[in-house]
Symmetry: C2
Amino acid sequence: MTFDLKSYLAERKTLVETELFACLPAEGTRPAELASAMRHAVLSGGKRLRPILCLAAAEAAGGKLEHALPAACAVELLHTYTLVHDDLPCMDNDTLRRGQPTVWAKYGEALAVLVGDALQTLAFETLARTPSATTLPGLVTELAKAAGAAGVIAGQVEDIAFAGAPTRDIIQYVFQHKTADLFRVTMRLGALAAGATETDLEKLSRYGNNLGIAFQVIDDLLDTQQARSDDKPELTCLAIMSEAEARTYAKETTAEAIASLKSLPGNTAPLTALAKNMLSRVI
Amino acid sequence: MTFDLKSYLAERKTLVETELFACLPAEGTRPAELASAMRHAVLSGGKRLRPILCLAAAEAAGGKLEHALPAACAVELLHTYTLVHDDLPCMDNDTLRRGQPTVWAKYGEALAVLVGDALQTLAFETLARTPSATTLPGLVTELAKAAGAAGVIAGQVEDIAFAGAPTRDIIQYVFQHKTADLFRVTMRLGALAAGATETDLEKLSRYGNNLGIAFQVIDDLLDTQQARSDDKPELTCLAIMSEAEARTYAKETTAEAIASLKSLPGNTAPLTALAKNMLSRVI
């Protein structure tokens, strides 16, 4: 029997969005503009890839997805806050995201800074609702380390500071921190919330890290077919390798991701299908 | 024997700053400019009032200050991130703070946004080092609620959105959320980390909330003697009451703060002395 990825993704997306909807301040909550802007940021589409991965990690580790639901939402809220801040005029200066006006374009710069801040706070508040209280110190520490000054933010700092010709070093650094660190911790949080063993945690971490790198390489390959929304020179792996080499690199990291799922106690079919599906967009 | 507040504050400030110093990325950590800017934001002075209150709350509840040290640092890091973002050109547009250039004035706007983001992340990472793991869900939830979209950020949103003549409603709202919510949770975190009873937690919350209101009223009274650094109409309680009325209000809220310390199991002398000392600046 083949795994039906499309139905799986649709079902999980609904589950995650129902939960996210419940986390956010209701429309009309004072200050009304803040509630409205936070909802715009979080509920304007998106594939919900990271929270779906987080839930799948819990199941692959043999645990219940319900245990990982707060962590899954936390990761999505955290990811969304980084997008809101990345879009600001002083950063990427983007006015559109997923065909909708970005938060600053619709609500102004000051509110966009505060919306990002509030979404980060909400990420940790949501994470704290994880049923197993004893896992919480580990979950908070891991999410904060991956998201903070040695993780996602480090990647963003080097991304915006970079000028001139991209080197292998800077591309590896930004791919690892801006993208792979969050994919990796997404898998770890799901596994930890589900009570994974150290060995299984390590396997799922490797899946997450490799998938994160593959995701970014694939994104660069797809980006060559699209118009750019800003004038900044692009930090793309295609500056240091050919398209054919990038395809091989994406294939290799995807294969490594899938290989690391071996002998996990739970269902790994969704994670395998997800990785293959992602790669299929460029192969 | 009278309580020597001056030595107490100096000793506690050193303790808190040693801890903060250890939390921050070391100078030179990649990305070096981020580490440098985070250190500039946190280590450029300040009275460390909030972390000192947090430690004093733990002791007033009969607990050990060591248990509240991570929470104390978390509150200061969180407070610092709000200052870094409040100073941005799109918010208060301040170029100086405590006689030093603000983060955006020294490192640029984009890095200032990211420094604020990283300090908020670091606040939660630091909080997770609280020795008593079972208290952590409560600590994270309380800090996030007080700092988030229904707390400090709500206050800041209404502060920057306000235009025209200040009303009693908006002043109460901003004082409560932008200032008092953080003072209140500071006391609660210290008490919770020290294992306070529900009754003692409630007493210390009331102290924190009243002290926060008094702090803001006193700040407005002192502000009339200083030149403003921006052109925005000031959200001050003096728009709705006379200076004499504001002094009475500060006196009353300070008295209420002190009264709520009655029958706590630990040493409350520092909290009483702190509140009286704050009031003495305007009486």
